[in-house]
């Protein structure tokens, strides 16, 4: 599943580059590509018994390879989200919920961000809430709900004025563009959902 995610995110390089060019410095696409390439190498290089080890390794790979703001932020999501995953063997709905809820908390602490700051938090927060609500549903439904919530959250960042990261000095000029990190957040969840759909067929 994570391998599929890596492939997908590497494939989205250009989308993310354009998103970051609009209101940032244009490196988010290659940063994420570099990061998920590192995750892929890490996954191929080792075997991971438990889900939390897998996500921790992925998070660490992101932190040490992406650079910029998003390496820490996305790495912290992956790593911080493992707090209550000990023992989980594969991703199921409760694990998804725990991963997103705890990941969100870790990101907010590390990034000192609140919702409305026009960051990936604005996509991750609704996604975490949706996954929490769907914790009893089958995984594909929970992922579908989280993905859709992330998409709406991402769309909503278009109407926000950035107050964090490189876009903050843009002020009003950041209006109309989604936050690149929010786009990534949506794409990450969508990839996981797609994978579940495909493998469930």
């Amino acid at each position: 599943m994570l391998l599929y995610l890596c492939e997908q995110m590497i494939g989205h390089t250009d989308t993310l580059t354009q998103a970051d060019k609009a209101i940032g410095d244009g490196d988010h696409g290659i940063g994420m590509a570099r990061g998920f390439e590192a995750v892929r190498l890490k996954l191929e290089g080792g075997s991971f018994a438990a889900l939390d080890e897998l996500f921790k390794a992925a998070g660490m790979a992101l932190i040490t390879s992406v650079g910029g703001a998003s390496g820490i932020i996305f790495g912290t999501w992956f790593r911080g989200g493992t707090k209550n995953l000990a023992g989980a063997a594969t991703l199921d709905s409760p694990a998804l919920s725990a991963w997103l809820v705890d990941g969100l908390a870790a990101v907010k602490e590390r990034g000192k961000t609140k919702p409305g700051d026009k960051t990936m938090v604005d996509a991750l927060e609704p996604a975490a809430a949706a996954a929490e609500q769907a914790a009893a549903a089958p995984l594909d439904e929970a992922l579908a709900a989280a993905t859709e919530a992330a998409r709406l959250g991402m769309e909503a960042t278009k109407d926000m004025v950035a107050s964090m990261g490189r876009a903050k000095t843009l002020g009003e000029r950041s209006l109309g563009h989604p936050d690149p990190g929010a786009v990534s957040t949506y794409l990450i969840l969508r990839s996981l959902w797609e994978y579940t759909e495909k493998s469930g067929e």
Partner: protein, 328 residues
């Protein structure tokens, strides 16, 4: 179709390590690359010295990694192009330069850099952090980006760290420098990112943007091309409004090229900056004109002023030897 930059590289994904090899060589034996990470350190850091670490994204050469050396920084951590270095790189560099007296982290006020340096600072070595926030185009000081004035801050911090005994003292002197540095930039056209070949922003052929950041972050306003003198006058107004200078006060001046702006244009701008300062009765302690903090092949320049007194001049006047700036 997007216009791509015309540049000479090997594999654009390897620009940072390849550049670092060439850079370390160009230090002619005075710095070494650290194993396994994109970081470097002076080879001759004295025992018991307060250490100074600088760094940030690559692509701004010679900044930051060109400013390691005698009476300058002890080491530098390099990120990828326009991306903060990761915590492991910063941590390696910190360990390599630490001599028991603590380490000052000095870098620009960018979210990514702060996140990464802060994470590295949690690993046990005594670290203090100072952020460069010299860009007066960004409103209140907390929001301000670190641009070319950072080089003046590194000069003072390097001198202080070579001379003073405690991290506290180095922090105090460097903070004083930071409080007295103001910069403003103008961009004519963008630089490009090697991995994509794309330019980071677009300006019309006859447009310039005043206050634009070193990655293409928005400035204060766009306008049609104007003459050097008109432009410098407006830029100086921004700086002097933010840091009014009294007659008889003294400043160091840095006219910094963004990458492809010619030394000729910079020198003509320098002429005007000095005229404006003279009109204001401000004395110039020294002026430096060069491309010290670039944004790849971006065109444009910035003006930085550092108000100095006897204490700051003492450190400013120290000889320095680094790739990007040498003085005696």
């Amino acid at each position: 179709m997007v216009r791509k930059a015309k540049k000479i590289f090997n594999d654009p994904r390897n620009v940072v390590p390849e550049m670092l090899d060439g850079l370390v060589a160009a230090y002619n034996g005075r710095v070494k690359k650290l194993d396994g990470v994109n970081a470097m350190a002076r080879v001759d850091i004295p025992a018991g010295k307060v250490a100074l670490l600088i760094g940030g994204g690559s692509g701004h050469e010679p900044a930051y990694h060109g400013f390691v050396g005698d009476n300058m920084a002890d080491g530098a951590a390099l990120g990828n192009v326009f991306a903060a270095p990761t915590p492991d790189i910063i941590l390696e560099a910190t360990r390599a330069i630490h001599r028991g007296k603590g380490v000052l982290y000095l870098y620009g006020n960018y979210a990514g850099d702060i996140l990464n340096f802060d994470m590295a600072a949690e690993e046990g070595i005594e670290v203090r952090t100072l952020l460069v926030r010299d860009d007066v185009a960004c409103g209140p000081v907390e929001n301000r980006r670190g641009i070319a004035g950072a080089m003046l801050a590194v000069k003072i911090a390097g001198g202080a760290a070579a001379t003073l005994d405690t991290l506290d003292d180095v922090v105090r002197v460097t903070s004083r420098a930071l409080e007295n540095i103001r910069s403003i930039s103008v961009a004519l056209y963008a630089g490009s990112i090697p991995e994509t070949g794309e330019f980071t922003f677009e300006l019309a052929d006859d447009e310039i943007e005043i206050g634009m950041g070193v990655h293409g972050e928005a400035g204060v306003w766009r306008e049609k091309m104007v003459s050097t003198d008109t432009l410098v006058d407006r830029m100086m107004e921004f700086i002097l409004r933010d840091m009014p200078l009294q007659r008889g006060e003294e400043v160091c001046v840095l006219i910094n090229g963004a990458g492809s702006t010619t030394a000729m244009e910079l020198l003509i701008a320098n002429r005007r900056v000095l005229q404006v300062l003279a009109e204001n009765g401000v004395t110039v302690h020294e002026c430096v004109v060069g491309s010290l903090f670039t944004t790849q092949e971006m065109a444009g320049f910035s003006i930085s002023l550092m108000r100095v007194d006897d204490e700051l001049k003492r450190y400013y006047d120290m000889p320095i030897r680094s790739f990007g700036w040498t003085k005696w």
